[in-house]
């Protein structure tokens, strides 16, 4: 079993360290809050000779993704990081990296479009682009998911860009004890990148055209389908090599024995939800927690299996689509449940929008709404807003 020293570092520093041990060859970088410490730390590694990579200081995120695409097409292992408005600015090229099937790994400390703080608005446009997205709860998980990410993205059955998403500030800037994997253990786990088409060879030219045709779309769909099992495989392999893994790689069931109701949470909300579930279980409530580890491809099969005997489920997400009455995770969940002969009631909770704080009382309120729905067989309110919770708590006082 792999060892490694223990350090106390932030999510961003964990991402940078993972990049160092994964040794990408080309790293285009452009700073943005709260991602900047990732690019700064990598610049330090390169400056100190600890990471032998081409570090390209681009003039914006749109170009950042174009550099990644150019280098990736020629067969280099590539990494970059961005978030919030930066990710939105890169949208055009981000989609093309996916269509080109360039296995790029990106750290995305999620940032809202209305503030500097975390919610999922930045990955919303990309959620339809055919990019793998994995959520992380802690700095340790950021580190481990990045290392797994290169192996998933570069797998010849997949060949897709992959986001390692974690909440800006809450995870990106908060220190935590992290097991730092040794270089030799990462080398044993993650082999050198072998491009599917081979490295560029001018005497044997390949032409890539920035146009999508139905066949490319079909192959892209197949690659996302393949990613479902590859994510699970790599998570298992990682568990064997490093002694820790994250559920089945796509979802993790937490305190789920005997559960008749459930909460689903993502990113740092999971940590708070763990406490809420523990407290309610102590009171005798039959509730469990599902951590959404993979957002894309959406773990529909795993959620159907986990929820087949559940009466009501609540979705805690830092997202809401105005006019749609729910967030994107809830919408995806409902679509996944639609074909089931017997399906749970669904309560959505739009929490932490624009990065507002989400604490135990908020998630307890959501859990109670779920328990009530299970008891009465009726969902009183399909979408719970955080401001409503605050108001009701004031009323309680």
């Amino acid at each position: 079993m792999a060892k490694g020293k223990v350090d106390f570092i932030t999510g961003n520093d964990a991402a940078a360290y993972a990049v160092k041990v994964c040794k990408p060859q080309v790293i285009p970088a452009y700073p943005i809050t709260p991602q900047s410490p990732v690019t700064e730390k990598i610049a330090e590694y390169v400056a100190d000779g600890e990471l032998d990579a081409e570090y390209v200081e681009v003039e914006g995120e749109h170009s950042c993704l174009a550099v990644a695409r150019g280098a990736g097409q020629l067969g280099a292992r590539v990494f970059t990081a961005t978030c919030g408005p930066g990710l939105m600015y890169a949208h055009e090229n981000m989609q093309q990296v996916a269509v080109d099937r360039t296995p790029l790994v990106m750290a995305v400390p999620d940032r809202s479009h209305v503030s500097l703080y975390p919610d999922l608005t930045d990955i919303t446009p990309e959620s339809q682009s055919g990019i793998i997205m994995l959520f992380c709860e802690t700095p340790q998980e950021v580190m481990d998911t990045l290392i797994q990410g290169f192996k998933v993205a570069e797998d010849h059955r997949v060949l897709l860009p992959l986001f390692v998403c974690y909440d800006g500030y809450v995870t990106s800037h908060t220190g935590s004890t992290v097991l730092m994997p040794d270089q030799e253990d990462v080398d044993a786990f993650l082999p050198e990148y072998e491009p599917y088409w081979g490295r560029v060879d001018p005497s044997n030219p390949v032409i890539s055209v920035a146009r999508s045709v139905p066949q490319m779309k079909m192959e892209h769909e197949q690659a996302m389908e393949n990613a479902k099992s590859v994510i699970k495989e790599v998570n298992e392999d990682f568990g064997k090599a490093f002694g820790r893994k994250y559920g089945n790689g796509r979802i993790e069931l937490i305190d789920f024995d005997g559960a008749e109701t459930a909460l689903i949470a993502h990113s740092s909300l999971t940590g708070t939800a763990r406490q809420v579930i523990k407290d309610l279980k102590a009171k005798g409530e039959k509730i469990g927690l599902i951590k959404l580890k993979a957002f894309r491809p959406f773990p529909a099969e795993d959620l159907r299996e986990a929820l087949k005997d559940i009466k009501a489920v609540g979705v805690c997400e830092r997202h809401e689509i105005p006019g749609h009455g729910q967030g994107m995770i809830c919408g995806d969940l409902k679509a996944a449940l639609y074909d089931m002969p017997k399906r749970p009631l669904v309560v959505d909770a739009a929490l932490g929008l624009g990065g507002t704080d989400v604490t135990v009382p908020e998630l307890t309120y959501v859990a109670n709404a779920v328990l009530e729905a299970a008891k009465t067989g009726v969902v009183k309110k399909k979408l719970i807003w955080a401001p409503e919770i605050g108001k009701s708590r004031e009323g309680d006082d």
């Binding site: 914006g60 695409r69 280099a76 001018p202």
Partner: protein, 295 residues
């Protein structure tokens, strides 16, 4: 110097046929650049007439309209990591992908001294999408977005001077070339290869006037003649700037009046004598500036 003489003994990297308009010199520009550089080249072509005009026999990266310089930078860095130091990185972009939407990423690549050979085939408008004005469209020219109406008569402002902008940004080699002077163009491509690919000094920027029969409204047999007129009237002087050293590559025996160049093109047919005079005085000043810098 005929093109046939230049091409003898050169292995073709471009493969006919092309989808270019009849009489379009863009094909000559791309072919001359590619055949001079040879097979050991990675090509990036953003959205432009060049994107659709013919098949290229060396590796080509896909890129978006604003991103040619950044995609080529990524290619150059990957080549460096692979130790493929003698492989050229060539961009063939139009004026839109150079002057306008591609300007930001080009500026970044020039500043970072990326080893890229940039050939701008400047046809002075968005010809590929149907003759809309660009930052390279000259004053008073008709385009579909600067139409000649009862109030507005063509584009109201002058074009940018991209060579000056790129030189000021720090490119080690900047040049203007013409399809009517192929030997000069070939020499410039070879110099760019030496500076960018061999010496890794940064971006070499060569701008070629792509005289466009379709958009400029003239007979499709006249592309080379119009290109030659642009040089001989002083509108498009053949020069090069190598790390600050300016050289005028060609001095016409007699500088022709600008009207000779303007009158063959339908896009200028509405010009008044005063406007032609303004063209002449601007061009004379520009040409005298060239002579002064060369002396």
């Amino acid at each position: 110097m005929s093109l046939a003489t230049v091409e003898r003994g050169v292995q073709r990297v471009t493969i006919p046929p092309t989808a270019a308009c009849q009489g379009c010199p863009m094909v000559l520009i791309a072919r001359t650049a590619l055949d001079t550089l040879g097979q050991n080249t990675i090509v990036t072509i953003p959205a432009s007439c060049g994107g659709w005009s013919g098949i290229i026999g060396c590796p080509r990266t896909g890129t978006q309209f604003p991103s040619a310089a950044a995609t080529a930078s990524g290619a150059a860095r990957a080549l460096k990591k692979f130790g493929m130091n003698d492989t050229n990185v060539l961009v063939v972009a139009g004026d839109g992908g150079t002057y306008d939407i591609g300007n930001q990423s080009l500026s970044g690549a020039v500043e970072r001294l990326e080893p890229i050979i940039w050939v701008c085939q400047n046809n002075q408008a968005y010809m590929n999408t149907g003759i809309q004005r660009s930052g390279a469209t000259p004053r008073w020219a008709w385009t579909t977005t600067t139409p000649v109406g009862s109030v507005n008569k063509g584009k109201s402002v002058w074009n940018k001077d991209m060579c000056e902008i790129v030189e000021a940004t720090g490119a080690p080699y900047v040049a203007k070339a013409s399809v009517a002077y192929t030997r000069d163009f070939v020499n410039k491509i070879k110099k760019a290869q030496q500076i960018s690919t061999v010496e890794k000094k940064g971006v070499s920027f060569i701008e070629v006037l792509n005289t466009c029969p379709t958009g400029w409204r003239y007979d499709s047999g006249l592309a080379i003649r119009v290109a030659r007129l642009a040089v001989q009237t002083g509108i498009w002087p053949l020069f090069e700037v190598e790390e600050g050293d300016f050289k005028l590559n060609y001095k016409p025996k007699e500088v022709l009046p600008v009207a000779e160049y303007l009158k063959v093109q339908g896009r200028f047919r509405h010009l008044t004598p005063e406007q032609i005079e303004a063209w002449q005085s601007r061009t004379t000043k520009y040409w005298e500036g060239m002579l002064e810098r060369a002396s």
